[in-house]
C-alpha cells in the first residue's frame, strides 16, 4: 500500500541509522536523504490517488478487551495536501542539511533524528483516529527534543530541548483528557470519520451536545490544549523561541513549516467539535488572536535573526488558530452554511503558503549564518546583499510573501484569514488581525534592511560569501513556490489547501494594503541607514517577561510545594506509619532489644518461624476448632 511506504520508509531509515550509526558514517546521510526523496515521490502518488479511500487500518497496535487502537491511514484531500507539504519541504531540508551540517561530526545522529521526525510527522498527517494521532504527536515531540538538543553540550541547547518537551507535555495532558472524554462519550470510537458522524443529528455526541453542552466545550478545549502546546500558542508559546538552539535546517522544517503546524492541522480535522461549541470557538479565536499580536510585538525588538523569524512563526500560527476559531464562529452564525471541515479551510491555506515562505526564510537565514561563521545578530551583519545575491533575492521574495505583498502567496492566504475574521462577526479579531499584519510588515522590513543593506558591520559579514549550490538550490525552489503557491496552478491538485473561492471583501483588501504600506513605511523611515537600533522597548525585547513570570511561578509553587510535601511525607508517613508503632513496641518489651541490636539473621529466622507458626495455626489448628 502506497501510504504505508510513506510511514515505513523513514521508520526503517531512522532505525537503521540508530542501530549502525558508528559503522554507517557517511552512508547514514545517504540513507536519510534517499528515503526523503523516495517519500516525496510516494507522496506524489498518494496525492494523485483519485478518490478518497476513507480510513483503513494499516497495522494493528492494541486490540484487547474490546479496545482497539490501530495505525489507521486516512486518505482524503486534507491528508494528501499536507503530506505533499511535509515530504516536499522535508526533502529540500534534507538536501540543504547535507551542506549545512557538512562539518558536524555527529551527522549520522542528526540525520537519524531527521528521519525519525519524518516518520512521526507522516504519522500525524495520516492518522485516522485520535489515539494514533496522540502517539505520533508524542513522537514528533521526541524527535524535536533530539534535534533541538543536537548540540547537547551547549547548556542553552540542553535547557531548550528539555523546555520544549515539558511544555509540550503540559499541552498533551489536556489533549489526552479531551481524547478520553470523547472516547467515553462515543463508546470507544475515536476515529475522525465516526466522531464527525456522531455530531450529526441522531449521533451519540449530538445528544450530549444538546443535553450537556459544557462537556463538549470542555472536550473541545482539552483537545485544543494539545494544539496550544504543539503549535506554541499563548500561554505555552515559550518553548518555540528557545527551540532555535537547534541547527537551522531543523528550525525550518520542524519549528516553522511542519511540526508546529500540526496543531492547526489537527484542529482543522477536529473543526466539527469547535463548530459544536460557541464558547470554545470564541476562546480558540481569542487565543490565536492574542498570540498573533503578542508575538508580532515581541518580534519587533529581537536582534537574533532566527529569533525574529521564530516570533514571526508564533504570530503566523496565531493567525491560523484564529482562523480555526473564526471559521467556526462564522458557521455558528450561519454566515457560510458550509461545513467547516470542507476542503479549503483558510487556516490550511495559510499553513500551506506559510510553510513554503517560512521554510525559505529559515533556510535563507541558515545560509546567512553559515556565511557569517555562525553569527546570528543582525546588527553584526549588514551589506550582505552584495556578497550573497541569490540568498538576498530569495530572502526578499520570502519576506515579501510573509508581509503579504499583493500577488505573492502570503497575500492570498492572509486575505482569506482576515476575511474569515471579518465574517466571524467579531470586529476585534479583524482589527487585531490587521494590526498584526502591519507589525509583520514592520519587523520583516527591519530585519531585511538591517541584515542585507548598509555597510558590513563586522569582519565576518564583510567576508561572507554565497552558500554552496546544495544550499541555494532548495532556497530557489522554495522561493518559486512562495510566489506561485497561492495560484490555482498548484492549488488545484491540492484542493484541501485553497478555499474554493475567496470572495474579495473591499474592507479586507484595503485594510491589509494599508497595514502593509504603513508597516513597511514606518520600518523604512526608522531603520534606513542605521547601525544601531534607534528604538528600544524593554517590554517587547524581554518578551513581556513571561519567561521570568513562569520561573517565579515554578519556584514559588512547584519547588516550594515539592519541599513541603517531601517534608510532610517524611514526618507523617515515615514518622507515624513506621516510627510510632516501633516506638510503642520499644516500650513494650524485651523483644525489641533485638530490633535495635540489629541481629538481622536472627530476625529473619524469627520471621520465617512466625510465618510457619501462623501457617500451622491456620492449616491445622483452626479447622479442628471448627469441628
Amino acid at each position: 500500500m502506497n501510504a504505508g511506504i510513506l510511514l515505513l520508509l523513514p521508520f526503517f531509515s531512522a532505525l537503521l541509522i540508530l542501530l549502525g550509526h558508528r559503522q554507517l558514517k557517511g552512508a547514514a546521510v545517504l540513507i536519510s536523504v534517499g528515503s526523503s526523496v523516495v517519500a516525496f515521490l510516494a507522496s506524489l502518488a498518494f496525492l494523485a490517488a483519485e478518490d478518497n479511500e476513507g480510513t483503513k487500518m494499516f497495522l494493528p497496535f492494541i486490540d484487547a478487551g474490546g479496545f482497539r487502537v490501530g495505525i489507521d491511514i486516512i486518505s482524503d484531500k486534507q491528508s494528501q495536501g499536507m503530506m505533499f507539504i511535509v515530504t516536499f519541504i522535508g526533502m529540500l531540508v534534507h538536501v540543504f542539511s547535507v551542506g549545512y551540517m557538512k562539518d558536524d561530526d555527529a551527522r549520522p545522529r542528526f540525520f537519524g533524528a531527521l528521519s525519525l521526525f519524518m516518520f512521526s510527522m507522516t504519522g500525524i498527517v495520516l492518522a485516522g483516529n485520535l489515539f494514533m494521532m496522540f502517539i505520533f504527536w508524542e513522537l514528533v515531540g521526541l524527535s524535536s527534543y533530539l534535534l533541538i538538543g543536537h548540540w547537547y553540550d551547549k547548556v542553552s541547547a540542553a535547557e531548550a530541548c528539555k523546555k520544549a518537551f515539558l511544555t509540550n507535555r503540559i499541552g498533551d495532558f489536556g489533549f489526552m483528557i479531551g481524547i478520553l472524554i470523547l472516547f467515553g462519550l462515543n463508546k470507544g470510537d475515536v476515529s475522525f470519520d465516526n466522531l464527525q458522524d456522531a455530531f450529526v443529528q441522531g449521533g451519540a455526541l449530538f445528544d450530549v451536545q444538546k443535553a450537556n453542552p459544557g462537556l463538549i466545550t470542555a472536550a473541545a478545549l482539552c483537545i485544543f490544549m494539545g494544539a496550544v502546546g504543539k503549535s506554541a500558542q499563548f500561554p505555552l508559546h515559550v518553548w518555540l523561541p528557545d527551540a532555535m538552539e537547534g541547527p537551522t535546517p531543523v528550525s525550518a522544517l520542524i519549528h516553522a513549516a511542519t511540526m508546529v503546524a500540526a496543531g492547526v492541522y489537527m484542529m482543522v480535522r477536529m473543526s466539527f467539535i469547535v463548530t459544536a461549541s460557541p464558547l470554545a470557538a470564541e476562546i480558540i479565536a481569542g487565543i490565536g488572536c492574542v498570540t498573533a499580536l503578542m508575538a508580532a510585538l515581541m518580534a519587533t525588538q529581537q536582534n537574533d535573526i532566527k529569533r525574529v523569524l521564530a516570533y514571526s512563526t508564533l504570530s503566523q500560527l496565531g493567525y491560523m488558530v484564529m482562523a480555526v476559531g473564526a471559521v467556526a464562529m462564522a458557521a455558528q452564525h450561519g454566515n457560510h452554511g458550509a461545513h467547516a471541515a470542507d476542503p479549503g479551510h483558510p487556516a490550511m491555506f495559510h499553513l500551506y503558503t506559510h510553510a513554503f515562505f517560512k521554510a525559505m526564510l529559515f533556510l535563507g537565514s541558515g545560509a546567512v549564518i553559515y556565511a557569517c561563521h555562525h553569527e546570528q545578530d543582525i546588527w553584526k551583519m549588514g551589506g550582505l546583499r552584495k556578497h550573497m545575491p541569490v540568498t538576498f533575492w530569495t530572502f526578499t521574495i520570502g519576506t515579501a510573501a510573509l508581509m503579504g505583498v499583493p500577488l505573492l502567496s502570503g497575500f492570498w492566504s492572509k486575505e482569506a484569514i482576515l476575511g474569515a475574521a471579518f465574517d466571524s462577526g467579531c470586529r476585534i479579531l479583524f482589527v487585531i488581525g490587521a494590526a498584526t499584519a502591519a507589525l509583520t510588515a514592520f519587523y520583516m522590513t527591519r530585519l531585511w534592511l538591517v541584515a542585507f543593506f548598509g555597510k558590513p558591520r563586522t569582519d565576518s559579514a564583510h567576508h561572507a560569501t554565497e552558500a554552496p549550490m546544495v544550499m541555494i538550490l532548495p532556497l530557489a525552489i522554495l522561493a518559486i513556490f512562495s510566489v506561485i503557491s497561492g495560484y490555482d496552478i498548484l492549488a488545484t491538485p491540492l484542493q484541501a489547501m485553497k478555499p474554493p473561492h475567496v470572495e474579495g471583501h473591499q474592507t479586507v483588501f484595503w485594510a491589509s494594503l494599508i497595514a502593509l504600506l504603513g508597516g513597511t513605511g514606518a520600518a523604512l523611515r526608522l531603520y534606513r541607514g542605521k547601525d544601531t537600533d534607534p528604538v528600544s522597548i524593554k517590554l517587547f525585547a524581554n518578551k513581556f517577561y513571561i519567561d521570568e513570570i513562569y520561573a517565579v511561578i515554578v519556584r514559588a509553587c512547584q519547588d516550594r510545594v515539592v519541599w513541603i510535601v517531601t517534608a510532610l511525607e517524611r514526618v507523617f508517613v515515615d514518622g507515624i506509619v513506621a516510627r510510632l508503632p516501633a516506638a510503642i513496641a520499644a516500650r513494650i518489651g524485651a523483644a525489641t532489644r533485638m530490633l535495635q541490636g540489629g541481629h538481622l539473621q536472627g530476625y529473619t529466622f524469627l520471621l520465617g518461624g512466625g510465618v510457619i507458626a501462623v501457617v500451622y495455626l491456620v492449616v491445622f489448628v483452626l479447622p479442628r476448632l471448627g469441628h
Binding site: P60, F61, I62, D63, A64, G65, G66, F67, V69, F131, F134, I135, E138, L139, L142, Y152, D153, K154, V155, A158, E159, K162, F165, L166, R169, I170, F173, M176, I177, I181, F183, G184, G188, V208, L215, V561, V562, W563, V565, T566, E569, V573, V577, A578, L595, G598, L600, Q601, Y603, T604, L607, G608, G610, V611, V614, V615, V618, V619, L622, P623
Partner: protein, 485 residues
C-alpha cells in the same frame, strides 16, 4: 512433569550448585539463559490458547487440600517472561562479586517464578517469602552504604514487608476459611475461584476481606502510605537485587490482587468505600511521591521514588476494574519491570565508575559514553510513557479502561485519572531533569565515564530491545490474554 516445574526448579538448583561450589557465573548464566528459552517456548506454545495450561498437580495434604500445583495462563506467562528476562540481565551484569550475588539473584528469580507459576495459594505465598529473604540479607550484607545504615535499611524493609506479609496472610486465611464454609478447606486457587463463582460471599464481607488483602499486597507493592521502605531499600540494595526486586518481585503484590483478590472477591473491589480508599491511596503514590521524586538530589533516589510513584498507575487499573484497564495493568507491570531493571542496572554501573550519583557532581557524560546514554534514554523515555516503548501502551489502556463507561458525569475515578495524567507531566519533569543534568551540558565536572564493552552492554540491549519490540507491537503480549480478566 510440566515444563513449568522445570522452569521453577532450574534457578533453585543452580543456586544450590553455586552454593555447593560450582563456578558461579557460567552456572547461573547458563541456568537463566535456558530458563528464558524455556519460558519463550512455553509462551509460543500457549499463543492462541485460553485458560490454564501446562497444569500438573502433586497432592501434599488431604485435608486441608493442598498440593504443589503448577499452571500458567497469559498473565503468568507474561510475568514469567519478565522474570527470566530481568534475571538474565541481572545475573549478566554481576561481575567480580562474591558468589552470594549469584545465589541471591537465582533465589529471588526462582522464588518469583514459583509465585507466578503455581496455582496453590499456600505455595504462591511461600515462594514469595522465599524470594524476600535473600533480598533482606543482601541489603544488610552487601548494601551500598555504611554498615550501620544499610542494616537500618534492611531492618526497615524487613519490618515493613514482614508486617505486610502477615496482614496478607491473615487476609488469605480469612478468605480461605470463609470459602470453606466449615467444610473441607482448600488452597487450590481454581477450586476457590469456582466456589467464588457459584456461591459468592456477601458483599460486605467481600469488601472487608478485599481491603485486608489490598493493604497486605499493597504494602509489598509500596502502596501509599505503606511505601516508605521502598526508596531506601532500592537506593541501598546491590544492583542485581534492586533490579530483581523492583522489576520483578514487587509485581507479586499486583499479581496476587489480580489472581487471588479480584476473582475471589469481585464485588468487594467495587464497593464505594473500598474503591474510594484505593483511589486516595494511589493518588498518594502518584501525586505525593511524584513531588517527592522531583525533590530528589541523587539518581538512585529519583529512580527508587519514581518506581513507587509508577505503582499508582497500576493500582488505578484495579480501581477501574474494567477488562481493558486490567489487561493494561499486566502490560504495564511487564513494561515497568523491564524499564526499571534497565535503568537500575545502568545506575549501578554509573555508581561503580563514578563513585557518586549526586546530580550536583555530574554533567556532560554523553560526550564519552554515547552508547550508555542511548541505553539510558530508553529507560528514561519508557518510564515517562513515550509511545513506541511498552509503558505507554499499558498506561493508555489503563486510562482508556477507566474512561470506558464514561456517561457524561465525572466520577471520583475520572477525576483521579485526570490527576494521574498530571502525574505523567511530573514524571517527565524529574526524568528529563535527571537526564539533562547527568548527560547533557559541558563535560567539565571532572567526572566522566566510558562506554561499557560490547559484552557488558548485552543485558541492557536485551532489555531496551524488549521495550522497543513490545512497545511497537503490544499486541504480541496482549494476544496472550484472550479471555477477560
Amino acid at each position: 512433569m510440566s515444563i513449568l516445574e522445570i522452569i521453577i526448579a532450574l534457578p533453585l538448583i543452580a543456586a544450590l550448585a553455586v552454593w555447593a561450589g560450582a563456578p558461579a557465573r557460567p552456572v547461573s548464566l547458563g541456568a537463566t539463559f535456558v530458563n528464558l528459552a524455556l519460558v519463550l517456548f512455553a509462551t509460543v506454545q500457549y499463543a492462541g490458547k485460553t485458560g490454564l495450561a501446562f497444569t500438573n498437580s502433586r497432592p501434599i495434604l488431604e485435608n486441608p487440600a493442598m498440593s504443589f500445583a503448577v499452571g500458567a495462563d497469559g498473565v503468568s506467562l507474561i510475568l514469567a517472561l519478565l522474570t527470566t528476562l530481568v534475571m538474565l540481565a541481572a545475573v549478566w551484569q554481576i561481575e567480580d562479586r562474591p558468589d552470594i550475588f549469584h545465589i541471591a539473584s537465582l533465589l529471588i528469580g526462582g522464588g518469583a517464578l514459583g509465585a507466578f507459576l503455581t496455582t496453590d495459594v499456600f505455595f504462591i505465598y511461600a515462594f514469595h517469602e522465599l524470594a524476600l529473604i535473600p533480598t533482606f540479607l543482601m541489603i544488610a550484607l552487601h548494601g551500598r552504604a555504611e554498615p550501620a545504615q544499610r542494616k537500618a535499611v534492611a531492618w526497615k524493609t524487613t519490618i515493613y514487608l514482614g508486617a505486610g506479609s502477615l496482614v496478607l496472610l491473615a487476609g488469605l486465611a480469612w478468605a480461605v476459611l470463609e470459602f470453606s464454609g466449615g467444610a473441607k478447606l482448600t488452597f487450590d486457587l481454581e477450586a476457590l475461584r469456582n466456589q467464588a463463582r457459584l456461591t459468592p460471599l456477601p458483599v460486605d464481607k467481600q469488601a472487608q476481606i478485599y481491603f485486608v488483602l489490598l493493604v497486605g499486597f499493597g504494602t509489598l507493592v509500596s502502596l501509599f502510605p505503606f511505601h516508605s521502605w521502598a526508596a531506601p531499600a532500592y537506593a541501598t540494595a546491590p544492583t542485581p537485587v534492586a533490579m530483581l526486586h523492583s522489576g520483578v518481585l514487587k509485581k507479586f503484590g499486583l499479581y496476587g490482587l489480580l489472581r487471588i483478590a479480584l476473582p475471589l472477591l469481585p464485588q468487594g473491589a467495587q464497593v464505594p468505600w473500598v474503591q474510594n480508599a484505593l483511589l486516595l491511596m494511589l493518588l498518594g503514590n502518584i501525586l505525593v511521591m511524584g513531588l517527592v521524586t522531583i525533590h530528589a538530589h541523587r539518581l538512585d533516589d529519583t529512580l527508587a521514588n519514581s518506581s513507587v510513584m509508577h505503582m499508582g498507575y497500576i493500582f488505578l487499573a484495579f480501581a477501574a476494574g474494567t477488562d481493558i484497564a486490567l489487561k493494561g495493568a499486566v502490560l504495564l507491570m511487564f513494561a515497568h519491570g523491564v524499564s526499571i531493571a534497565l535503568i537500575f542496572g545502568l545506575c549501578g554501573r554509573m555508581r561503580n565508575q563514578l563513585g557518586t550519583l549526586e546530580y550536583s557532581k555530574l554533567g556532560g557524560l554523553a560526550a564519552h559514553a554515547p552508547a550508555f546514554t542511548v541505553l539510558f534514554a530508553f529507560g528514561v523515555f519508557a518510564s515517562i510513557g513515550l509511545p513506541g516503548l511498552t509503558n505507554f501502551a499499558g498506561e493508555l489502556m489503563i486510562f482508556a479502561g477507566s474512561f470506558a463507561g464514561f456517561k457524561g458525569t465525572l466520577t471520583h475515578l475520572h477525576w483521579t485519572v485526570i490527576l494521574a495524567l498530571w502525574g505523567v507531566v511530573m514524571s517527565a519533569v524529574y526524568m528529563l531533569r535527571a537526564y539533562r543534568g547527568i548527560f547533557h551540558g559541558g563535560a567539565n565536572t571532572g567526572l566522566f565515564m566510558i562506554d561499557p564493552a560490547l559484552s557488558q552492554r548485552v543485558p541492557f540491549i536485551l532489555l531496551a530491545t524488549t521495550l522497543l519490540v513490545t512497545g511497537c507491537c503490544p499486541w504480541l503480549l496482549l494476544n496472550l490474554m484472550k479471555t477477560a480478566l
